[in-house]
C-alpha cells in the first residue's frame, strides 16, 4: 500500500501583525487596508526556504530511521540556489544517506503537490521507497503591495512510502495552465500579479473546481464523499463560490491559515494537509488540491496507522510557539528588501572555500560527531584522536550525528558588539546530551530564556550570507526549550 507514512510542519516563530505593515505602508496604498487583518508568519533573520524545509522534514521523520530515507524532494519557488541542488542541502541536514534520489521542484506553486505525486509514483513503481517531500516558501512582495500582506513563510513535509502508511494514496488529477496570475522572472525577487478579479474569476474559480470534479469523475465519487477537502486561496469570495458550486459543506473545508500564517506558496496545501492529519481518523477520505500554474488534486484515505503515529508539532504546535515581530523594518532588513549599514567591518570579505566545505560537509550540514570505540566518549565535532585525555585512542571512532540529541547550556552571553542583523548576538557553551561540548549561537529566544543548565534543541539555520557572491552558508544553532518539552 503506497501513501503517506508521516507528516510535519513548520511555521517560523515570528509573526508580523498585518496592521503594523499597513501602518507603515498604508499611506502609499490605502486600499490594502482590506488585506491588513491578522498576522503573517515571518522567517527569522537566519531562516530561509531551505532551513524551514529542514525543520518541517525533521518534524516529519521524528521516530523514523534516517538510514531508511530513499529520496528527498524539495519544492520551493524561493530556493536560495538556482544551481546547487537545494534538496542535497536538506538531505545533508537530515544526515540521510547520500546514495539516494534527490530533486528540486520549482516554477509554479503547485510544485509542492507535484513533488508528492512524483514521490508516490516512484514508490508505487518500486524504484525508491521512503521519500521525504519538503516544501517551503518565503515569497516577497514589494513594500506596500498586497502580496507583502498576504504571503507568509512556512514549510511542510510528508514521508511517502509503502509500509505502515497513515493515509493511503488512491490517485490524482492534474492540470497545467500557462495562466500567469503571479510571476517572477529569473532576475526578479518580488512577486508580480495581474488583476485580482481576473485571477479569482478566471483562475481559481475555474481551475480548482475542474480539478476536484476531474478527480471525482475519475474515481466515481462526488465531493460530498470526502471528509475533508483542502484547497488554498486567500480570496474569501472565491472560497464561498467554490464551496457553493461544488456543494461543499464549509466545515469540511480546511481552514486556509490566512489569518494566522499567510499564503506559504508551494508549502501551503501541504501545510493545510498536515493540519488535517493532526486530527484525522481512520477511514477519513481526504481530497488535497493545490493551485498555481494549474492544479493537482490528490485523493487519500486515512488508515488505522494514524493512531500509532506519535504526535508532532506540525501546524498546531508551531502556531502556539509564537512571538511578535515588533518592527516592520526588521522584516525589511532581514529579507534584504532595503540595504542596511552594517559598518565597515560588515564589508570585510567572508569566503566560502568549497573544497573545504566538501571535506567537512557531514559536519557542517549534518552535525557529525564521533564516538570512541575504546572508551565510549561521544564528542563533537568529529575527532580522530579521542578527546578524553585518559583515552587518546587514534582513529577508533564511529560516526554519530548529534543534531537530534539536544543539550544543556553550559555558559552564555548576550553580546552587543558582535556583528548581527538581530543584535544582541546570543551564544555560549552547550553540553551535548550524551557527551561533547561546543560553542553555539542561540536563536529564536531572548536573554531571559537563557540560563546555565537549561535544555536546548538544535535547529538548522543560515550561518552567514555572502552578499558579494550570493552564497548562503548553513550550520546548526541552539534554541532554549522548557524542561517539559525536552
Amino acid at each position: 500500500m503506497v501513501g503517506i507514512r508521516s507528516y510535519g510542519g513548520y511555521i517560523p516563530r515570528f509573526r508580523l501583525n498585518r496592521m503594523a505593515i499597513f501602518g507603515n505602508m498604508g499611506w502609499l496604498n490605502p486600499a490594502n487596508m482590506m488585506n491588513a487583518q491578522g498576522e503573517k508568519a515571518v522567517a527569522n533573520f537566519d531562516e530561509d526556504s531551505v532551513t524551514m524545509a529542514v525543520a518541517a522534514a525533521l518534524d516529519c521523520i521524528k521516530g523514523f530511521e534516517r538510514s531508511e530515507i530513499g529520496g528527498i524532494y524539495f519544492a520551493s519557488t524561493t530556493a536560495p540556489y538556482k544551481e546547487r541542488l537545494n534538496a542535497n542541502i536538506v538531505a545533508g541536514a537530515l544526515a540521510a544517506d547520500e546514495r539516494i534520489r534527490t530533486a528540486d521542484f520549482a516554477g509554479g506553486i503547485k510544485a509542492g503537490t507535484t513533488a508528492v505525486i512524483a514521490a508516490l509514483d516512484a514508490v508505487g513503481a518500486g524504484s525508491v521507497n521512503n521519500v521525504v517531500v519538503a516544501a517551503a516558501d518565503c515569497r516577497l512582495g514589494k513594500m506596500g503591495s498586497p502580496q507583502e500582506l498576504l504571503f507568509g513563510d512556512g514549510a511542510a513535509a510528508v514521508l511517502v512510502g509503502d509500509e505502515d502508511v497513515i493515509a493511503e494514496y488512491k490517485g490524482s488529477f492534474s492540470s497545467g495552465y500557462d495562466f500567469v496570475d503571479h510571476m517572477r522572472g529569473a532576475e526578479s525577487r518580488f512577486d508580480r500579479q495581474w488583476e485580482d478579479r481576473w485571477i479569482r474569476d478566471v483562475g481559481i474559480n475555474q481551475f480548482i473546481p475542474e480539478a476536484i470534479n476531474g478527480l471525482c469523475e475519475k474515481f466515481g465519487l462526488s465531493p460530498s464523499d470526502f471528509s475533508k477537502i483542502i484547497y488554498p486561496t486567500y480570496y474569501g469570495g472565491a472560497r464561498k463560490k467554490i464551496n457553493k458550486v461544488l456543494g461543499l459543506e464549509p466545515e469540511k473545508v480546511e481552514d486556509n491559515l490566512q489569518v494566522s500564517v499567510g499564503d506559504t506558496g508551494t508549502a501551503h496545501s501541504l501545510l493545510m494537509l498536515a493540519k488535517t492529519l493532526e486530527q484525522a481518523n481512520p477511514g477519513d477520505k481526504i481530497l488535497l488540491v493545490s493551485y498555481g500554474s494549474g492544479c493537482d488534486a490528490l485523493y487519500f484515505e486515512v488508515t488505522e496507522n494514524i493512531k500509532k503515529l506519535a504526535p508532532r508539532r506540525a501546524v498546531s504546535g508551531h502556531l502556539a510557539r509564537r512571538a511578535d515581530l515588533d518592527n516592520y523594518t526588521k522584516y525589511l532588513v532581514w529579507r534584504r528588501i532595503v540595504p542596511a549599514d552594517l559598518g565597515l567591518r560588515g564589508e570585510e570579505d567572508k569566503w566560502t572555500r568549497w573544497s573545504l566545505v566538501w571535506r567537512k560537509h557531514k559536519l557542517i550540514l549534518g552535525m557529525l560527531g564521533s564516538k570512541c570505540k575504546k572508551c565510549g566518549t561521544q564528542q563533537f565535532p568529529d575527532q580522530r584522536i579521542c578527546i578524553n585525555p585518559d583515552c587518546g585512542a587514534v582513529d577508533e571512532m564511529e560516526p554519530v550525528y548529534v543534531s537530534d540529541k539536544g543539550g544543556r547550556i553550559f555558559s552564555f552571553t548576550s553580546d552587543m558588539l558582535a556583528a548581527s542583523t538581530n543584535p544582541p548576538a546570543m551564544y555560549g557553551g552547550v553540553d551535548i546530551n550524551g557527551g561533547g561540548r561546543f560553542v553555539m549561537d542561540f536563536t529564536d529566544c531572548t536573554l531571559d530564556d537563557l540560563a546555565v543548565g537549561k535544555p536546548v534543541e538544535f535547529t538548522f539555520r543560515i550561518k552567514f550570507y555572502d552578499s558579494k557572491r550570493d552564497i548562503t552558508n548553513y550550520f546548526w544553532k541552539a534554541i532554549p526549550i522548557s524542561e517539559e518539552a525536552e
Binding site: 552587543m416 558588539l417 544582541p424
Partner: protein
C-alpha cells in the same frame, strides 16, 4: 542606598569607548517615584568589536532627592533598590514604550 548624580552630557571615557548621561527622569509608579537615567554609549576602540547602544539605569525608588553631596561635590540622592521582578518588568515596559530601541534597562 545612595545614588550619586553624575554630570549630564559629559563624556566618561574608557579605553574601549565612552558613554554619556543624556538625561535623568522621574516618573510615578504605584504611588512611588522611580528615578531613571538615560545614557548612550559608543564603543569605538574596544579590542574586539565596535558598536554602540542606548541604555537606561534605574537606581530605584526615590526616597530623597539630592539631599546631600559626596566627597567630590556631586549631589547624592537616597534611593530604594527595586527588587520585585513584576515591578521591574512593568517599569522596563513603561520605559521601553517611552524610549524605543533602548538595548538595556538595568536595575543595578
Amino acid at each position: 542606598m545612595r545614588y550619586v548624580h553624575l554630570p549630564i552630557d559629559e563624556e566618561i571615557r574608557s579605553v574601549g569607548g565612552y558613554y554619556k548621561i543624556l538625561k535623568e527622569g522621574v516618573f510615578e509608579f504605584k504611588g512611588k517615584k522611580v528615578i531613571y537615567v538615560l545614557k548612550a554609549a559608543h564603543v569605538d576602540t574596544s579590542c574586539c568589536g565596535a558598536g554602540g547602544l542606548g541604555f537606561i539605569s534605574v537606581p530605584g525608588f526615590l526616597m530623597s532627592y539630592k539631599s546631600e553631596k559626596n566627597e567630590n561635590g556631586l549631589p547624592v540622592s537616597e534611593v530604594k533598590k527595586i527588587l520585585d521582578e513584576d515591578d521591574r518588568k512593568s517599569i522596563r515596559n513603561e520605559l521601553l514604550k517611552k524610549y524605543p530601541y533602548i538595548s538595556v534597562v538595568d536595575f543595578g
